[in-house]
């Protein structure tokens, strides 16, 4: 059984101008011990999917799903209890996640004290041990520091150590490297891989960056307009994409074209979040669209663990 099991999740937020469909139909199976990438462009619903699993959707939002379970427990009822106990969050901007006026020691201690029954000295040792586990070279010095005295990469390691301190075994990492330099981001991704291998963690990695998916993830799911349109092992999704949108997204990368050649941009724009979509959401922009695409929901192609939604028969390009 997958650790996180999502089938047909939708999140709508009522507004005076009608419902905003932030997530329309996302299905996601995340197995224990994998890093699962969720990739998509702005407004595709990737962050809202993660927030729904944390029970952090906006007030009044409606969550519906055929299945929305974490380790057998329904997230619609238990998300708030599981958050911070089993499910941790690593956000994009570590500087915003840390309190600027408290030392790292006191912020680490807050987390450990809330989750474990330990005497003060043991908590301090535990904090130092967790910081060391995230690859920070001098944990005692880091504990005495304030966030502004640390670099972005060090701050992100502290945030990861805090998530570990709760005892969480499932981390939702929302663009964890976007605010960092490329070489520092690569180190943070390597750390996450190491923690997955050593501690049996499971990670949901939300990102817009194909390079991050390629560097760090085992499997990936592509979202478009609030729907999961393709999922599979990273190599398959990146090297042999099934869905025309995935293909178009990869073709738009600067390294997909010869030097100085024109890039194949995707014409048009994403559907409005308040609109209703009858068929395939990508149909208006798809170079291979057929009349049926806009009219009917696309069928599922592929096989176990390697699926995409498209009217085009398998093998057509």
């Amino acid at each position: 059984m997958p650790l996180l099991e999502i089938k047909n999740l939708s999140v709508s937020i009522p507004t005076p101008d009608g419902d905003v469909h932030a997530v329309r139909a996302v299905s996601l199976d995340i197995e224990r011990g994998e890093i699962h990438g969720v990739i998509g462009e702005s407004g595709c619903g990737k962050t809202m999917t993660g927030m729904a699993a944390l029970g952090l959707v906006p007030k009044g939002a409606r969550i519906q799903a055929d299945r929305f379970h974490f380790d057998g427990e329904d997230l619609r009822e238990n998300a708030v209890r599981l958050r911070g106990r089993r499910i941790g969050l690593i956000s994009q901007d570590p500087a915003a996640a840390l309190n600027p006026v408290l030392s790292i020691a006191s912020q680490m201690d807050d987390v450990i004290r809330a989750h474990r029954d330990m005497p003060r000295r043991a908590r301090r040792a535990e904090a130092a041990g967790l910081l060391a586990a995230t690859g920070l070279p001098d944990p005692e010095r880091v504990l005495r520091s304030y966030p502004h005295q640390l670099s972005g990469g060090m701050q992100q390691r502290v945030v990861i150590a805090q998530a570990l301190a709760t005892g969480a075994d499932f981390l939702i990492a929302d663009e964890p490297t976007t605010a960092l330099d490329v070489s520092v981001g690569a180190q943070v991704l390597a750390l996450l891989r190491k923690l997955v291998a050593e501690r049996g963690l499971t990670v949901l990695m939300i990102t817009h960056d194909m390079d991050v998916i390629a560097e760090a993830c085992d499997r990936a799911t592509v979202l478009y307009a609030g729907r999961s349109i393709e999922t599979g092992p990273v190599d398959d999704v990146l090297q042999r994409p099934g869905h025309p949108y995935t293909r178009a997204l990869l073709a738009a990368l600067p390294d997909a074209a010869p030097h100085a050649a024109r890039l194949s941009a995707i014409e048009g724009s994403i559907p409005a979040p308040r609109s209703t979509i009858a068929g395939c959401a990508f149909a208006p922009r798809c170079p291979q669209a057929m009349p049926v695409c806009a009219a009917e929901p696309p069928p599922e192609r592929g096989n176990d663990g390697r699926r995409w939604l498209c009217h085009l028969p398998e093998g057509t390009r």
């Binding site: 462009e41 702005s42 490329v182 991050v212 998916i213 090297q239 030097h259 890039l263 941009a265």
Partner: protein, 261 residues
């Protein structure tokens, strides 16, 4: 080939505290040339000195030593009115179009501003020129009466590029112009920039932390690290045989993301 911009042994150093030792220079002896009609890519991470270098080229920062020539003129010697007039030769596009476009003005007003500031009279000809600029940047004329908040990120960045071209600069400086955009929109903007480079024989300085983006569109490439220029050469040469491990590391990140690579 004549160079538009020539920088020779440029050193920029920020002042330290009164009693603190002299800090290391933010830019430590940078030298490079940009030929007319070419694009120079400058890559570096935070603290590498790329922004300091850019600010010095824009004369927003004093330099400690070295020389900058713009179209053969001693750029650092210009003062007052002469500097103000000469600055019109440089157009600037920044990272976040929503911060650089006024939310109160219409797109037509935004594009008119540089021309009015340069003393141009408000006339039907100006309106025509604005429409032309906008269409060169891939936006139809019905955008003229909209405001920035009604635009998508890609559309707003097109307006920012159109504004930077309003005074027909000989040099366009782009500071992370696609970093705030989605991949598919980034491709549109990169295509637009290569079109403009062709049609207007523009010379460009493209600054970014993303080596792959800049390696795609630049003719020459300059990599900075901790104030030093660690690579400078033709883009093909730098990407094929990087002199530094650091450059190789940046190039190889996420390599398998490209189908078939």
């Amino acid at each position: 080939m004549s160079s538009v911009l020539s920088v020779d042994n440029l050193v920029i150093r920020y002042r330290g505290g009164l009693f603190s030792p002299r800090p290391k220079p933010a830019v430590n002896g940078a030298s490079f040339q940009l030929a007319k009609g070419e694009t120079l890519g400058i890559v570096g991470e935070s603290g590498s000195g790329k922004t300091s270098l850019l600010r010095a080229i824009l004369r927003l920062l004093p330099v400690e030593s070295g020389a900058i020539e713009l179209e053969g003129r001693d750029w650092l010697a210009l003062k007052g009115d002469a500097l103000r007039r000469a600055r019109q030769k440089i157009g600037v596009v920044s990272q976040n179009p929503f911060l650089s476009l006024s939310p109160r003005l219409t797109i037509a007003e935004i594009l008119a501003e540089p021309m009015l500031a340069a003393g141009g009279p408000q006339s039907p000809a100006m309106r025509e020129k604005i429409t032309g600029l906008l269409s060169d940047c891939g936006l139809p004329a019905d955008f003229l009466d909209r405001r920035a908040r009604e635009l998508s990120g890609g559309q707003a960045q097109r307006v920012a590029i159109a504004r930077a071209l309003a005074l027909e600069p000989s040099l366009l400086i782009l500071d992370e112009p696609t970093s705030a955009l989605d991949v598919s929109v980034q491709a549109q903007i990169l295509n637009l920039l290569s079109d403009l480079k062709e049609s207007r024989a523009l010379s460009m300085v493209f600054v970014t932390h993303n080596l792959k983006v800049v390696a795609h569109i630049s003719d020459t490439l300059l990599v900075m690290r901790r104030g030093d220029v660690i690579e400078f050469g033709r883009t093909e040469d730098v990407t094929r045989a990087p002199a530094e491990d650091y450059t190789r590391e940046l190039l190889s990140f996420g390599r398998k993301a490209v189908a078939g690579a």
